[in-house]
Each structure stands twice: as structure tokens, then as C-alpha cells.
Symmetry: C2
């Protein structure tokens, strides 16, 4: 039995209230809040990036597990779609920083720890987790670390802007896990779609217009990496839903249960925005009713067909049966996202944290509860799998200061937000201390752009 032994997160130092953004962009704030569940978005400060956020989450995780020995850690696998380098993985920076951490507490360096980045939009960290769990099942004396880190940044004034967010999640995976057992049965579906992507774009270098008699020549070009995506919102929703349905179909073929969804006490989603899960789940809701022999009655009483059709979607979602499903199985997982926004690869894990943290706060007994996971990455792929809560889950989740994380952030003015977004601030807005910082960057020919990250002195 392998799974999530512990989990930590890091949220960047700043946030922007949706109200501030809505006011500036002349948007209907109530529609964003009540319709999509958007209240605040996490924004990295000028001294934060995907490496520092990942390292902060990782060091938080290690500090809460002081008994871990460096040589137990056999893997550091990272999921990201916000890399800062085309060749060097974020995982290699984390290896270096984790060794700095171990040195600071007088432990030896890690040996033989494998590390790599997995890239598939928002689902890369799920891929990392699946591969690490598989590896752990064959290396039961070891532990694996999976980190999801991203800055979900969209163009100013785009329709993605109000879904922005950022942050990192670090997980310790092990056998006999303290939080969640994850059986090695994963449903999957992949297609080649362009619903959301970040193409390297060509841009002519200034003043380059060489011509040659024997060749048709274009201008010499630079490759521009835009850290904001090209996307098609409605297409992405539809692709997410299609892949989810197919991945679930694959999962149910592999599953030993004949009614998987009915057995789920909670459903955890990749959340591009807080209420996305509840807005796309209806085909699987019908599938659940069918397996429970309730579909005919439901369809008849709501005047819809028994096969899912887009035009029935609103009727399904407005039904009291669907609303009950949302309230008992989905809603708790939306709470954190409402104040964080999209974390890309980390989003589904934030949903898990939120689900468990709400249950813990409300003293909900979830021992042995079964959680259904709906993962998605644009481009496009969905994975569907399950987790089973372990008796000790509350002891780990109570140590997650999620509310403190949310409260410790600095509220940005629109101006501050805009300058951070454009990368124009040299100094951080917040005065919160970092555990990890970018010490310097190389400027010589052979190390131009080399990022030297360091641990701050451990207190």
C-alpha cells in the first residue's frame, strides 16, 4: 500500500482581491464571486518564482518530518508548466536546495536521488505522482517527493486574468502512508488539442532583412517565450469534459467496483477556477445515476434524455440531486481555490487539501473515506483514480496552517499588481521573510543567466 504520507503547500506573499480587479476592468464582481467562486488570487512577489515557491513548500514539508534521512529520499519529481529553463529542470534546483537544507541541520547530503520535471500542462504533477507511486511499490524502504509548482499568469485584461493564481505543493509519498492510500489503478485519456498552450513564438530580430539570390529568406528570428498562455476558454471546458468522461470510462473498466462514483465520499478536481468541477461533472453524474438505476426516473422528472447532451446541462446542474451531490462531495474542495486561484499543476492537490482541511475543521469523520480524483491537463489529458483516507489523516492535516497562509498575505493595490505582473518591480512589496532566495545570476559567457538560489539561515 502506497500513497500520500504528508503534504505541504506554499502560497506566494501577495494577493489581489477579485473586487479590485473587477473594479479596474469594469467586470461584474458578483458574477465572478457567485458564478465562478473567485474571491482572491495569489500573486508572487518580486522576489518569488517557481523555484523559490517549490523550495518553500519542500522545506515546510521536511521541517514537519524531521526524522527523514537524506538517503531515504529516492526521488524528487516535479510537475510544472512554468519552467524557467528549456533544459535544466526545476527538480535539479530542488536537489541542490534540499542538500543545503540537510547541511544546515548537520545531516549528510542526499546520494542517488533521482530527479526530473514532467511537463503536460496542469497534469504533470499527477504524472509525477503516478510514476513515483509505481516506483515506491517496488522500492518500499524509500520515500519519494513530488512537487507541483506554477505561476498561473494570464495577459492583463484577458478572460483568463481573473482565474489567475500561483503556488506550490510538496508531497511525501511512502508505503503505509499516513494520509491517503492511492491504489495503482488509473484511468487515462489523451488527445492532441490546442485548448490552452504556451508556444514559443517567432519574432523578427530588429533590422534583419538579409536577401540572397539563391534562397527565399525570411528575417532572422528570436524565439519569444510568453509566460502567459494562448487559450480558448469554452474549448478548454469542452475538452476537459470529453477527456474526463473517457478517462472515467477507462477507470471504470479497470476498477473492481461496479459503481465507482457512488462509492466516492468526496470528488477532487483540477480546478482552473473554484467552481469548475461542479460545472463540468454532469455527464458523470448521469453515469452514476445510471449505475444506481435512478437515471430513467431522474431524466423523466427533469424532462431530459438519458444520454448526456450539452443542452440538458443547466437542468441537470439545477436539480436538487445534483446540488446535494455538490454540497456533500465537491464544495469543501472549492474553498481554498476561492482565495488562491488557479495553481496549474498544484490545483488538484490544493483541492485535496481544501477537502480535508474543511472536513477536519468541521470534525467530519472521513476514516476510510474514498476520494475520486479528476485530473486534467490541457493539450489534452485526463486521469481518473481514487484515494482511500487513512485513520491518521487528521493528525497530518491539522498541522497545515491553511488559514494562516491565506491571512499572512499582503493585499495588493491594482497598481502594485500591474507592476508585479509586468515584471517591473525590483523590490518585493511584502516584508514577509523568505526561506529561500535567488542570491545572484551569472553574467559571464559561460554562465549567463545561471540562477544561484540559497537557503536563508535556518532559525
Amino acid at each position: 500500500m502506497v500513497g500520500i504520507d504528508d503534504i505541504e503547500l506554499y502560497l506566494p506573499k501577495c494577493f489581489l482581491p477579485i473586487e479590485t480587479l473587477a473594479k479596474h476592468n469594469d467586470l461584474d464582481v458578483l458574477k465572478l464571486q457567485k458564478g465562478l467562486g473567485l474571491y482572491n488570487m495569489s500573486i508572487p512577489d518580486a522576489d518569488e518564482d517557481v523555484v523559490t515557491m517549490a523550495a518553500e513548500a519542500l522545506i515546510n514539508l521536511l521541517k514537519k518530518n524531521p526524522d527523514i534521512e537524506p538517503n531515504e529520499i529516492g526521488r524528487i519529481y516535479v510537475g510544472t508548466e512554468s519552467s524557467i529553463d528549456g533544459a535544466k529542470p526545476i527538480a535539479s534546483y530542488l536537489t541542490g536546495l534540499l542538500n543545503q537544507y540537510f547541511q544546515s541541520i548537520n545531516k549528510p547530503q542526499m546520494k542517488a536521488c533521482d530527479s526530473v520535471d514532467l511537463v503536460f500542462a496542469c497534469i504533470g504533477a499527477i504524472d509525477a505522482m503516478e510514476n513515483c507511486l509505481l516506483w515506491l511499490s517496488q522500492h518500499p524502504t524509500k520515500k519519494a517527493i513530488v512537487v507541483a509548482t506554477d505561476n498561473a499568469k494570464y495577459e492583463l485584461a484577458s478572460t483568463g486574468e481573473y482565474t489567475q493564481g500561483a503556488g506550490a505543493v510538496a508531497m511525501l509519498l511512502a508505503k503505509n502512508p499516513r494520509i491517503l492510500e492511492i491504489p495503482l489503478t488509473w484511468g487515462c485519456s489523451t488527445s492532441c488539442a490546442h485548448d490552452f498552450f504556451k508556444p514559443f513564438r517567432f519574432q523578427a530580430k530588429d533590422g534583419q532583412h538579409e536577401k540572397d539570390s539563391s534562397h527565399e529568406l525570411a528575417r532572422e528570428i528570436d524565439l519569444i517565450h510568453n509566460d502567459c498562455p494562448i487559450f480558448d476558454g469554452p474549448k478548454s471546458n469542452a475538452t476537459y469534459q470529453d477527456r474526463m468522461v473517457q478517462a472515467y470510462e477507462n477507470f471504470s473498466e479497470l476498477s473492481s467496483s461496479d459503481k465507482p462514483i457512488s462509492s466516492w465520499d468526496k470528488v477532487v478536481f483540477h480546478q482552473p477556477y473554484a467552481f469548475h468541477g461542479r460545472r463540468i461533472f454532469s455527464p458523470l453524474f448521469l453515469e452514476m445515476l445510471a449505475k444506481e438505476n435512478k437515471l430513467d426516473a431522474f431524466a423523466a422528472s427533469h424532462g431530459i434524455g438519458t444520454a448526456y447532451q450539452v443542452e440538458d446541462d443547466r437542468a441537470i446542474r439545477k436539480s436538487s440531486a445534483y446540488q446535494d451531490f455538490v454540497t456533500t462531495k465537491i464544495e469543501a474542495g472549492e474553498k481554498a481555490s476561492m482565495h488562491v486561484g488557479n495553481m496549474y499543476t498544484g490545483s488538484i492537490f490544493l483541492c485535496l487539501i481544501s477537502t480535508l482541511f474543511e472536513a477536519y475543521k468541521h470534525d467530519e469523520s472521513l476514516e476510510n473515506a474514498r476520494i475520486g480524483f479528476i485530473a486534467y491537463g490541457s493539450g489534452a489529458k485526463s486521469k481518473v483514480f481514487e484515494g482511500i483516507l487513512r485513520p491518521s489523516w487528521q493528525e497530518r492535516i491539522m498541522k497545515l496552517e491553511l488559514d494562516d497562509y491565506l491571512l499572512e498575505r499582503k493585499e495588493l493595490s491594482y497598481e502594485e499588481y500591474k507592476y508585479l505582473h509586468k515584471g517591473m518591480l525590483m523590490n518585493p512589496v511584502s516584508d514577509r521573510q523568505s526561506q529561500v532566495f535567488l542570491n545572484d545570476m551569472g553574467f559571464s559567457d559561460t554562465n549567463y543567466g545561471a540562477r544561484n538560489y540559497q537557503m536563508a539561515t535556518i532559525q
Copy 2:
């Protein structure tokens, strides 16, 4: 037992003789040829990129294995450090193209095929292979595909330019493999180094100098993705050697053999250039002699210490014992690289292909031969593992038209090479037909830069 069931490669349509480059750049051509083993470098034509090269290799592989059913393929994992997108993996394009291929031969679409890109400089495809082999060992009725694809491009006139190359390798992994069994014992060593990397670089947008009274503002910036690396050659050699030694140490701890290197009939390396393996192996050569109780005599007769020191390196490599080792165990693997150059993630597999192809051509019986693998990715990580040749290996390797591939390429003039390098040619130089081509790119707000690849009609 799992491993490499079949292997195919794709080399781009053009090549530049080192002689042409040396002449233009005023370099010592004999030093490049005799010292580093560089004769020709593969150069992608104007209509080729990492996706088309990967797809060509993949389709070549599928065409030679017509019995594969789409639903047998459970994974398409890609190793690359030349991605064309920050979020969408090359693996998703390959999923789409493979479905086009299956459609063209009247087979159903793949269902439930997982796909993702792994990024760690030149070692990403090895990581992909390790994870897929682990997965196969638990899903023995399935097959996995691993593709390595890269364009190893360096700045014009840099010291990396003459090591350039490009191409793709596609492998079918399965249980009871026809070519090579790969036991699931992998030595590994990772550190955070900047020996070679591709940082996204900041560049001020033209004319942007906003100022604000309350903030210290930099200029608004673009992120430039340079497809050529920043690198430090001597540092990279040293880092490669250090990580190799550590990964081997880890491997030998895990291995059941007390003399692993002595049991290797061939050694296969990641080759940044053809002769790199023979130039960095000396510490492990001493290690092998030590295990064979021959080190003291060797050290005494060559006037060196028994612990490896850099200053002894030349004496070790000039010894007849080392030269014999190179001739019998390393040299065959260098042949292909001499006419291809660096393939980044594909390089170690090209070395394997070369080793086997030479053995096949010279009718060398390698049944049950043991191959040692030395993998490396800058940044930095090494993995050491073994493969054991299967009785049927020759039947697969004889179908690889490696010599034809090399001969079918168009020789470039320096001018043509320069324009291809700068991305300035609109039309291909070669008239060789492609199986896969970029049909069009999106230009609307919601699909700007979306790359629509298509299969040419299957003959």
C-alpha cells in the same frame, strides 16, 4: 523481463561536413576529426522540427511492427530539451499523429494511452525509459513507446558549434523484448550544476520605461527563449565524470555482481561528441582494474597513483590496456555519432544502435552479451544501468537502414547551413519527402501559434 523490443531512428534531411565548418571558421579539421571523432553533423531542413523528427522515427517504428494494435500502446513518453511549447508536451502531438497513422491503415484510435514529456537535459529519455520499464513490469500485456527528440544547436562560431547534431529515436518497450533485456537496477547521482542550460532570458521591451513615485521600476520585459545553450565545456566534462563515478558507485552497491564493469561486453554512453566516452571513462577503468586485482600492477607500470587523479588521465588513456578496452568495448558505439553529431536525449540510443549495427555488420556474436550504460544530463544527473542482449537482437537491428539514413542526406554548403541555423529559410533545401509535415499554424487570438501537424498520405 522487460526491455527494448524494437528501435528506430530518424536523421534529418541535411548534413554539414566538419571540413566545411572548419574551413569557414578557420579550425584545425584534423584535430576535430582525429581528436573528437567529428566528421559530419546532422542538420534539420527548413521543414523539420523536433515534432516531425519524433513522428518520423515513431512511424518508422510502427511500420516495422504492423501487428501492434492501438490499444496495446499504454504509454508514449518523450524525452526532450528542445520543446516548442512551455505547457503542451511533444508527446501530445505524437498521440495525435499516431492516431492519424492508425486511421490511415484502418485501425481504431488509441484509447487510454498516457503521454508526457520528461525534461532533464540529455537524460530525459532515459528517465522516460526507466519509468516505462517499471510500468511495463506491472502491466505485462501492454507496450510502451519512448521517443527521444532534439535539435542540438549551438551559437554560430561557439565552441559547441562543431558538436552539433539532431534527430530522433523511437523505441518500443515490452516484456520478453526482442533486442535488449534491461534489469530494473539503476544507479543514479544528481547535483545542481550549471554546466549547460537554456535559461529564459529577460529582455526589455522596446521603449518601455515607466516610472512611478512609490516604486522602483525596471523596464517591462520579454522572456527570450534561446534555442542555443549557455555552456562551459570543461566544467561539463568534469561534472559528467563526477556524476558518472557516483552513479556507478550507486549502481555497484545495488548490483548483484561484484565486478560489474568487467562483465560488460560493450559500454554505451551519452555522447556529446563521438569520442567523449573514451575521454572520460578512466576513473571507472581504474575501478575495474581494482576489482580485478590488477590496479597496483597497472599503477606501478605507468607511474601513477591507485586513486584516480586528473593529472594521471593522459597516462591512463594512453596505456595499451585502456586502448584495448576502447577498441573492444567503446569504439563501435562511436561510429554513428561521428556522422550525426550530438542528438542530446537521443545520443545514448544512437550509441546503442551504432554498437549493435557494427556488431551485426561484422558478424560479431553478442548473444547474451552484457552492455553497460552511462547516461548523463547536464544540470546534472547520471544514471548507470545494464542491458542483456536477447538471442533475436540481430533480426531487429538488420532492419535498421543506418547506412542508408546517413547516405540519403543532402550535403549543405556553409551558406545553406548558416541560413538554416538562423531560421531564415522558408523552403527546404532537400527534396526528400516527409511522412509528417506542419500543415499550418493558428493566427487567431485563441489559437495563435497552434501547430497543426499532419501525416502525408501513406504509400
